[in-house]
Symmetry: C2
Subunit: 211 residues, 2 copies
């Protein structure tokens, strides 16, 4: 086994540390966040930090780094309009999605540079990604500062949710392998998902005898 | 395509809404959080909300629901000791990990009930899961309240990191399919991960011509 103490992590070179620590929390969801500003047009950026916060109301958060042009465009557009979209990355569009993270000039749309199609649905102000089959229109709710390292959690409520009929069962189970949704490892590794098993809600009364 | 507005989501029955909204952010990491209290012994609980916050210092967060015995044990133990462990769920232990979410009596250890092995390493106070090959000892740093729905983000710094030699490359890339780490969909669906592709750091100068 390989072992790193806190001190070992701190003395690693910066790039290797970034690779390790970004990967070690496990698989991450791959999403594209779409926004639009009056001045600079549309913006699209890849995020692997979207996290479920609650179902009633239906809230998702994502983590905003303290620096980076792309992230700042996303956030300033959200503050300006109060709207953004979250679009799943699928197997067929991994490469295009990955390159939205390049730091383009503010006046350049990542949609155009990366060959993805802006789409406007349900009179919603923020652009959806046409190529994504699972996508959400989000109303901005709140920003929670995370003082220890200057990051922020941006919180929104689901206003519109679109997904393929065949991805969702009668009980509301969403099969992420049927939609070819992908996972992200670290900063630049991508994984296909194969659903292997599902279990009932766990109760002391239905637990198998593991001993 | 299937479409849900905010109003459609709100009027769904509770269980179906939970299933849909828990799944729709995409794939989630599957981790077991291990803690110990002086009074009630060890505790182990499955979490699918671990999120990367930063690499220097190496910080991870996870989301704590406002209710639930298992979660409250985890959190009260973290506050009592300042220590916890994050252990990857691997393919061979999905069922055992899933059932740690049953609401056992406080005096019962999920390690024992679910057939997982408590292990103490590097003189760290919190219990690791012996069956997990990727695991971290965490120092508790901060709790961030999320006022909109009463959840909290619990933040810790990596003090110890253990992973298999073959899972990590010279550059620090961690291959989550080599460690058989799994992903979680919704509340009870589990996915195997197959690494398919990696791309270099994205810059405007190395972007392929997508148009």
């Amino acid at each position: 086994m390989k072992y790193f103490s806190k001190a070992d992590i701190e003395k690693e070179n910066r790039i290797k540390r970034l690779n390790i620590i970004n990967a070690i929390s496990g698989i991450k969801p791959g999403n594209l966040i779409g926004t639009k500003s009056k001045k600079n047009g549309s913006n699209l950026a890849v995020f692997s930090s979207v996290v479920h916060l609650g179902s009633s109301p239906a809230l998702l958060g994502f983590i905003l780094r303290p620096t980076g042009n792309v992230l700042r465009n996303t956030y300033s557009n959200i503050l300006e309009t109060g709207k953004y979209t979250i679009n799943h990355i699928h197997i067929s569009m991994i490469e295009k999605a990955h390159y939205t993270s390049a730091k383009f000039d503010e006046s350049i749309s990542e949609f155009k540079m990366c060959g993805l199609t802006e789409s406007y649905l349900h009179s919603f102000e923020a652009p959806f990604v046409e190529e994504s089959v699972i996508k959400m229109g989000m109303n901005y709710i709140d920003t929670i500062p995370i003082p220890v390292n200057g990051t922020k959690m941006v919180i929104g409520e689901i206003q519109h949710l679109i997904l393929p009929n065949e991805s969702i069962s009668e009980e509301g189970y969403v099969d992420l392998s049927l939609s070819n949704s992908i996972g992200v490892g670290g900063l630049n590794n991508y994984y296909e998902l194969n659903k292997t098993v599902e279990f009932p809600f766990a109760r002391p009364s239905n637990i198998p005898d593991f001993n």
